[in-house]
């Protein structure tokens, strides 16, 4: 059996997942990164994207909209502002997220960042095939 890290996914409202995983692919703000056992301790902020967890029972994906991840040698905790398992995600929900982000982009003073959030969401939609 491959060595594992303890994976935790928490949203502000509840703990969504907590199980051992062999690798976790994280959509970091500066680019994707994969955390495995023995990864250097890192804290990274997230961009909207797909979080992929390779566990003992196969691969699970989650849609996250932002937050941050805390990686240590033995565990990965993802604190996501919003997180939904990919198989529960509907195109309509994704539409709502994009609409929210675009609305925020229209209001936000930091136009670049907000626009990036929208394009990240759209990229994720393409990747997820919804």
């Amino acid at each position: 059996m491959a060595s594992t890290v303890q994976f935790d996914l928490v949203s502000p409202e509840r703990r969504l997942a907590s199980y051992p995983a062999t690798e976790v692919q994280i959509p970091g703000a500066m680019g994707d990164l994969t955390a495995m056992e023995g990864h250097a301790a890192t804290i990274t902020s997230l961009r909207p994207g797909l979080l992929k967890v390779v566990g003992v029972e196969g691969v699970k994906s989650y849609v996250v909209t932002g937050g941050f991840a805390e990686i240590s040698a033995t565990g990965v905790s993802v604190l996501a502002e919003q997180a939904v398992p990919l198989d529960e995600m509907t195109p309509a929900q994704l539409d709502a997220l994009v609409a929210d982000a675009s609305q925020a982009a229209a209001l936000n003073a930091d136009k670049d960042a907000a626009d990036k959030a929208v394009s990240d969401l759209q990229a994720m939609r393409a990747q997820a095939g919804l």
Binding site: V10, P12, E13, F68, L79
Partner: protein
């Protein structure tokens, strides 16, 4: 002396009241369980958020160039008090205790020459504060349509608060809520959210930061405000149900006592009436 009919009516009405308070108590108990679960479920996020933020904050410090949400804008003239209360009454001293604390603080600040502004969440507190502090009201968040408080509600409040801070309409933001301790005890609490305050943590693990420490902190601070408000809302929700439950429990018990008393009174009067009738019959018979 009320007539027998009056007493009977009275007993009936108290019995109805008891039914209502009993039902409210049970509803509150069910809601309390849910609220407690929600508060429980939100805890891991809030705890880790605070841990990471305090590690970051102690690293970055509050010197030059620190994010404003952490270091403040250098003034403490205008204080914004966010007073969180319930949308519904009949929950004992729940709302009054928050309002009392908020009023105390507001008076202190006003006496010290500061400007006080008040943002109310929940209409019960607004009603109570209206008398003394109506001129300080800057806004109101209505959660009466919200069935279940979500993170989005907290974000909405946080956005409003931070907009005020950014615009210079507030220098220090403090939230007031009831911390849930047990069904019979809720502790009115005030918590300063802007500038953020962290307890100094000792040794922290060394982390790589991506992007930089400052960027992550700047990204996290607004979320931290929302998380603190969310936690407060949840605690408040649990406290409200707890307070309502014990208030309704008392009311149910009082109604029971009252029914007992009234029933005794009713029986005595009935007995007296019967005795009186008997005496009349007997003395009538003797007179013959």
């Amino acid at each position: 002396m009320p007539s027998l009919k009056d007493l009977k009516n009275r007993i009936g009405s108290v019995k109805n009241t008891r039914k209502i308070t009993k039902a409210m108590q049970m509803v509150a108990a069910a809601k309390l369980r849910r609220a407690q679960e929600a508060a429980e479920a939100a805890r891991p996020f809030a705890e880790r958020m605070t841990a990471v933020m305090s590690a970051l904050a102690s690293g970055v410090g509050t010197g030059e160039g620190a994010p404003k949400l952490l270091a403040g804008n250098g003034k403490d003239q205008v204080h914004l008090l966010v007073v969180m209360t319930s949308e519904r009454g009949l929950c004992g001293g729940f709302n009054s205790s928050i309002v009392k604390l908020a009023r105390l603080r507001a008076n202190e600040l006003a006496a010290a020459g500061k400007t006080v502004k008040i943002l109310t969440v929940g209409k019960k507190g607004r009603e109570q504060l209206k008398r003394d502090w109506a001129s300080a009201f800057v806004g109101h968040v209505d959660l009466s349509e919200v069935k279940r408080v979500g993170y989005a509600n907290a974000q909405g409040i946080a956005r409003e608060v931070m907009a005020a801070f950014d615009a210079g309409d507030a220098d220090v933001v403090t939230i007031f809520y009831n911390r849930f301790q047990s069904v019979i005890s809720q502790i009115p609490t005030e918590q300063q959210v802007i500038p953020a305050k962290f307890e100094a943590t000792g040794a922290t693990a060394l982390y790589d930061y991506e992007p930089s420490e400052e960027a992550i902190l700047a990204d996290l601070l607004p979320r931290g405000v929302a998380t603190q408000i969310f936690t407060a809302l949840l605690e408040n929700g649990a406290s409200e149900q707890g307070a309502r439950m014990s208030a309704m429990d008392n009311a149910t018990r009082n109604a029971g006592d009252m029914i007992n008393k009234l029933t005794i009174q009713y029986n005595r009067s009935r007995q007296a009436a019967i005795t009186k009738e008997l005496i009349e019959i007997i003395s009538g018979a003797e007179a013959l």
